[in-house]
C-alpha cells in the first residue's frame, strides 16, 4: 500500500496545510469580493466583476475619516505604550526592588482579562469621573491594554542580553547615559520594535474596548461593525485587501533585503 504509506508520512503536512487554508480562506473571500458589484446594500453574494470600489476607495461617507482616526490612535497608543512599557521592562530586568510580585501581576492581569470586562470597567470609571468619551478615552484605553504586551516583548529581549556587554561599555569609558544610548538601547531595539509593532496592530484592530469607550467617535473597526448592521460597502474589502497586501509585501521585501545584505557580507 504505497499510497497509504505516503499519506501516513505526510499526514502532519497535509493537516497543517489544511489549517493554513482555513486561516487564509476569509482573506481570499475578502479579496475576491473587493471586485464584486453587489445588488443591494450588503456585499455577501457574488454578482459580477467590477473594479469600481478600487477606483474610489474613499467613496463611502465617513469610512476614510474613521480609517485615519484609527491610524492616529494606533500611532499615539504605540508611542505611549512603547515608552512606558520599555521603562517598566528595564526596571523589572535590571533592578531589585520591593513589590516586584505586585508589579508582575499588574502587568499579567490585563492579558488574562476578557476584553469586555476591561471595557466595561473602564467605562464605569469614565462615567464616574464624568469624562468626555472620544479620542482621549480611546487612547487611554489602548495604551492601557498594549502596555502589558510591550513589557512582555521587551523584557524577553533585555533578559537575554549579556550583562557583560554593558560592563564592557562602562569599562571602555562610557558613562551611564552613553552606555544606555550606545549599547543597551541598540541591542534591545528588536524587542522594542516587536512590542511597538504588536501595539500598533492591537490598537488598530481593537473593537470591543473601543466600542465601549468611544462615545460617538467612530474608529475603523467601529465603522465596519456599524456597516454590518446598515450595509457593507465594497470599499471595506478594498481596505482589508490593501492592508493585507501591504503587510505581506513589506515583510517579504525586508526579508529579501536582509537576505541580500547577509549574502554580500558573507
Amino acid at each position: 500500500m504505497p499510497f497509504v504509506n505516503w499519506l501516513k508520512r505526510r499526514l502532519v503536512v497535509i493537516a497543517g496545510l489544511l489549517t493554513l487554508a482555513y486561516l487564509l480562506l476569509p482573506n481570499v473571500v475578502v479579496t475576491v469580493f473587493s471586485f464584486n458589484k453587489p445588488k443591494g446594500r450588503f456585499n455577501y453574494e457574488w454578482q459580477r466583476f467590477s473594479t469600481d470600489a478600487w477606483k474610489d476607495p474613499c467613496g463611502v461617507a465617513d469610512m476614510c475619516g474613521s480609517l485615519s482616526l484609527s491610524l492616529q490612535i494606533a500611532l499615539w497608543a504605540t508611542v505611549g505604550a512603547t515608552v512606558l512599557g520599555t521603562m517598566i521592562s528595564f526596571a523589572l530586568v535590571r533592578y531589585r526592588f520591593r513589590a516586584r510580585g505586585a508589579v508582575n501581576s499588574l502587568i499579567f492581569l490585563p492579558m488574562a482579562m476578557p476584553e469586555v470586562v476591561m471595557a466595561a470597567s473602564l467605562l464605569t470609571l469614565f462615567l464616574n469621573m464624568g469624562a468626555q468619551l472620544g479620542f482621549w478615552t480611546i487612547l487611554i484605553a489602548h495604551i492601557m491594554f498594549c502596555l502589558s504586551f510591550v513589557v512582555t516583548a521587551v523584557k524577553a529581549r533585555v533578559m537575554s542580553m549579556d550583562p557583560r556587554l554593558e560592563e564592557a561599555a562602562r569599562d571602555l569609558y562610557a558613562g551611564p547615559v552613553q552606555t544606555f544610548l550606545r549599547v543597551t538601547l541598540p541591542i534591545a531595539a528588536p524587542g522594542i520594535a516587536a512590542g511597538a509593532l504588536l501595539s500598533f496592530a492591537l490598537s488598530f484592530d481593537d473593537f470591543i474596548i473601543t466600542n465601549f469607550n468611544a462615545g460617538s467617535t467612530v474608529t475603523f473597526p467601529m465603522f465596519v461593525w456599524g456597516s454590518a448592521q446598515r450595509g457593507t460597502p465594497v470599499q471595506i474589502n478594498v481596505i482589508g485587501t490593501a492592508m493585507f497586501l501591504v503587510a505581506v509585501l513589506l515583510v517579504l521585501s525586508s526579508m529579501v533585503i536582509t537576505h541580500r545584505r547577509n549574502k554580500q557580507k558573507a
Binding site: 486561516l23 499588574l106 495604551i143 465601549f212 493585507f244
Partner: protein, 309 residues
Amino acid sequence: MSTLTEAPPPLAPATPEKKPARRRGRFTPYWLLLPGMLWLIVFFALPMIYQASTSVQQGSLEEGYKVTWHFATYWDALAAYWPQFLRSVSYAAAATVLCLLLGYPLAYLIAFRAGRWKNLIMILVIAPFFTSFLIRTLAWKTILADNGVVVHTLNSLHLLDLTNWLGWTAGDRVLATPLAVVCGLTYNFLPFMILPLYTSLERIDGRLHEAAGDLYARPWTTFRKVTFPLSMPGVVSGTLLTFIPAAGDYVNAELLGSTDTRMIGNVIQTQFLRILDYPTAAALSFILMAAILAMVTLYIRRSGTEDLV
C-alpha cells in the same frame, strides 16, 4: 607600535567620592516603573474597584446610583443569564479544543517540516492580522451562506442532519447557529494557539526525536512520549490565550449567530450600552472575570507540574 607609546588622553581626575552611582541609582527602578504602573493602576485596577462598587449599587440613571450593598443583583443576574454564561464557557471550550486540534499540526509543520518554506508560512499565519478581524469575520457570512458551497456540501453528505440532531445547526442553515459561532471563534483565535505552540515546539532539540527513534519509539510514540510533553508550555499558554478572549467575545455571536447563540459578552454589552442597567452589567462582568480567573488558576495549577505528562 607607535600608537601604543603615545600617552593616552588624561582621564577625569580621581576624586574619591563615596559610592556616587549607588546612591543616585537607588530610586531609579521606581522612577522607571512609576508612569506605566500609575497608568495601569488608574485605568485598569481602579476601574475594577469602581465596577465592583457599581455592582452593589441601586438607583437609576436619572436619580443617580448609591452603594446599598445590594448583592441580590448578582443572584438576579445569574438567574436571568445563566444560559448565556453556560453558552460562553461551552463555545469557548469547543473553540479552544478545535484550535488545539487544528493548530498543532500547523505549528508542528512550521517547526519541523517546513524547511525553506518556514518563513513564508509564518508570514501567512500572521498576515491576516493586518486585515481588520471584523472584515474577516464578515467574510464567514459569505463562506457559510445558505446557498454557498459549504452548506451545499454538508447537506449532500447528510452531515447537516447529524449536526441538526446534535443541536449545532438548525434547518438547512449553518449561519445563525452555534456551529457558525464556534467556527468563527475558532478562526479568530487560531493564531493565538499556533504562535505559542510553535515557540515551544521550535525549542525542542531535533536530536531528541532521533534519540527516541533510536530507542525503539515509533513516530506516534515519539510524539506522545517526547514531543507533546515538551510542548506543554505552548499548549498551556495557547489554550489560555484562546479560551479567555473567546469566553468574553461577543463579536462572533453577533455577526454569525442569532438571538439563540447570545453569549455573556453580548449581554454585558447590551446592558451597558443599550439598556444602561449599570449594576447588572457590572455584576455580570464581575462574575465573568471571577469565573475566568478561577478557571485559569485551576488549570494552571493542574497542568503546572506533575500532570504535564
